[in-house]
């Protein structure tokens, strides 16, 4: 029970009254590690289950911080809109910022980091120039990093606002140029909709939001936020599922975007881990993109390990190995080996730049 405590509490909050103080203690530690404290707070709040006072105040604190981050995001979006006003470029929000801007339920209780923006390739230069003019500055000044991003990635080097320290990732596609799969960004851009909660911005069509979420999840080598992202995927499916035409168009759309494989994985593991309701014929259609069975078997194991919080209580004897394989897999999918090996080597070499001062030890 211990490794799956948080997961069970999130999916079955009715079990909360049966938890001992020590189990609440563990559930909160797992939630904190997985970045899901505020999400857990909302789940138990909506279920109306009693929470011991000592745990409740941690949950309430997480909700306060989360609310504040959402306010900060709204402000940030307004600043970005002002900066881009004269560029004439359509600004499409992706991931967390898109969920919030579209007013989707998955945005509630979600923490926000960087703002991810998708713009048509031909507008990239004018958007970057406008942001630089309005106070954002490149975070990666190393010429190697600059070249790495501009030559191979699907985004320009991240930009940080010099006063607010907020970060924007400006993308021209949703996967690197060097990646195994090659989605055509113009397909996504053609179907964008106005963002209801963030005037001036656009968000991808529901199917594209879902497919991008799965793609992000199964292209990412880092597993720190994997459970959070799977919950996003689950929440998007539950929200958009009842919309007419959604299920019918999902798999064909993923095929058109060359992203049928990640969608297949997403659907498979959302159902297994979170019990997401998926129509049988959709699951079947998606399974045409399944890999050979030994690969599926291996992925089942990797997913089981990868979707657990990265907390010591969730660690089995082979968890470390699984995370390492997922890390390599993420890199390997994003770049062919002939590019990847020199890149990793370069990153492993000691740098001459001074290391940042540790300002954390303030007290």
């Amino acid at each position: 029970m211990a490794p799956d405590l948080l997961l069970r509490l999130l999916t079955t909050p009715a079990m909360a009254p049966a938890l001992s103080a020590a189990q609440w203690d563990l559930a909160l530690r797992q939630a904190r590690r997985a970045g899901l404290m505020a999400r857990l707070a909302l789940v138990v709040q909506e279920a109306g289950v009693p929470v011991p006072a000592q745990a409740q105040r941690h949950l309430a604190g997480a909700l306060t911080v989360c609310k504040r981050l959402q306010e900060a995001l709204a402000w940030e979006l307004a600043r970005i809109r002002a900066a881009l006003a004269d560029t004439g470029a359509p600004a499409v929000l992706l991931k967390g910022a898109a969920y919030a801007a579209a007013g989707l339920p998955v945005a509630a209780g979600r923490l926000f980091g960087d703002v991810d923006l998708l713009v048509p390739r031909e507008h990239l230069a004018v958007v970057e120039a406008a942001l630089l003019e309005h106070g954002w500055a490149p975070m990666k000044l190393d010429p190697y990093d600059q070249r790495y991003y501009r030559q191979w990635m699907h985004e320009i080097p991240p930009l940080e606002h010099t006063r607010r320290q907020t970060v924007i990732d400006v993308h021209h596609n949703i996967l690197p140029r060097t990646a195994r799969h090659r989605p055509d960004p113009s397909l996504i851009l053609d179907l964008v909709r106005p963002a209801l909660q963030a005037p001036g911005f656009f968000v991808p069509a529901p199917v594209d939001l879902v497919i991008h979420c799965a793609t992000h999840l199964f292209y990412e080598g880092e597993t720190d936020r994997a459970l959070r992202d799977l919950l996003d995927f689950d929440g998007l499916l539950r929200h958009f599922g009842p919309e007419p035409g959604f299920w019918d168009t999902l798999v064909p759309r993923a095929q058109a975007l060359d992203l049928a494989r990640p969608l297949y994985y997403g659907l498979r593991y959302a159902r297994r881990v979170l019990g997401t309701p998926i129509p049988g014929e959709v699951a079947q259609a998606a399974a045409t993109a399944a890999p050979a069975w030994p690969v599926t078997l291996a992925m089942d194991w990797l997913a089981q390990e990868g979707f657990r919080p990265k907390h010591p209580s969730c660690r089995g004897p082979f968890t470390g190995l699984a995370h390492f394989i997922l890390y390599l897999r993420g890199h390997w999918l994003r770049m062919p080996l002939r590019l990847l090996l020199p890149h990793l080597l370069r990153k492993a070499l000691p740098r001459r730049a001074p290391r940042p001062v540790d300002r954390a030890a303030i007290l």
Partner: protein
């Protein structure tokens, strides 16, 4: 049960194994470490703090350990871990106990968002609390240590916890960190005070911790009404001077010194606005502890 009632073997055993659950004000902390300096300093300085049973809810799980690797033999270090998250770079092995104290401060400042957490000392007399925000080096901890040895109750020398709902300040009653020249000063001022072993060459020079007075620990669950915000400044050879400090500026100073002011959003501002409306604000310069004690006694005896 208090830590002093637990046999040393038991303390060592818990610290090395499941962890020692200590209560400090509103928080329960589970501490794990095999480092003997940590065992000894905890035993000495937290003697009056309540120990809790194993199966309780703990707010923070912290650990001090020697990182693996060759340095272990060549230049040993100590690492602080919050659960298994390591927020700081390791420090020299001799700084293990100060690192635990800094780590506990970090744990509270980073996670206790049901309080507004201000970087300030706070002491109480007759139910009224004086909040002392001040930059490092202003003599805040020295003043706090001196006053709590003469009738003031220690709430905290580093973290002022303000409850947004009640406006009250809560106590931690943890050891007071003293630096460099203030150590001999305090030993002379309060020969009965108990100090842990000094750690030399830390980020802040020589650091030693003073055990909180027993009464402060016994009353640590008791919150206090904030009555004064006082900005202390040690000026060599100066006469004591207590002068009014503009309230609006005091609010900004407190906001600037709060760890989670922006994380709390409007709640942080409302909490400070309410506090500032009910307190008196002063600047205080001094050079002699005697003078400071006189001024603070007069404040406490006042209306």
């Amino acid at each position: 049960m208090n830590l002093r009632e637990l046999p040393l073997e038991d303390i060592r055993h818990r610290l090395a194994g499941p962890g020692l659950c200590l209560r400090t004000g509103p928080f329960t902390v589970r501490i794990r470490s095999r480092i003997s300096a940590v065992v000894d300093s905890l035993t000495l300085l937290y003697a009056d703090h309540p120990v809790l049973a194993d199966e309780v809810f703990c707010d923070f799980h912290v650990r001090l350990l020697r990182p693996l690797g060759l340095r272990r033999w060549w230049r040993p270090q100590v690492k602080f871990a919050f659960d298994d998250f390591v927020p700081f770079k390791p420090l020299p092995y001799d700084h293990a106990f100060p690192m635990l104290e800094w780590g506990l401060n970090w744990s509270v400042a980073q996670h206790a968002h049901w309080y507004l957490v201000v970087h300030a000392a706070v002491i109480e007399q007759k139910g009224r609390a004086a909040i002392l925000p001040a930059p490092p080096g202003s003599g805040k901890s020295t003043l706090t240590a001196a006053l709590v040895q003469r009738g003031w109750r220690l709430l905290s020398d580093e973290l002022t916890l303000i409850d947004p709902e009640t406006g009250l300040v809560h106590a931690l009653a943890r050891p007071v960190s003293l630096k460099n020249t203030s150590l001999p000063l305090l030993r002379a001022w309060a020969p009965e005070a108990v100090f842990g072993p000094p750690a030399h060459d830390t980020l802040k020079g020589t650091v030693a911790h003073m055990k909180p007075p027993q009464e402060s620990v016994a009353r640590m669950e008791e919150p206090a009404h904030p009555a004064w915000v006082i900005f202390p400044r040690y000026v060599p050879d100066s006469a004591p001077r207590l002068t009014p400090h503009p309230r609006a500026h005091a609010l900004l100073e407190l906001a600037h010194n709060a760890f989670n002011y922006s994380a709390l959003g409007s709640c942080g501002y409302d909490t400070l606005a309410r506090l500032i409306a009910t307190v008196e604000c002063f600047d205080f310069t001094y050079s002699r502890l005697e003078d400071a004690l006189n001024i603070f006694t007069r404040l406490a005896d006042g209306p």
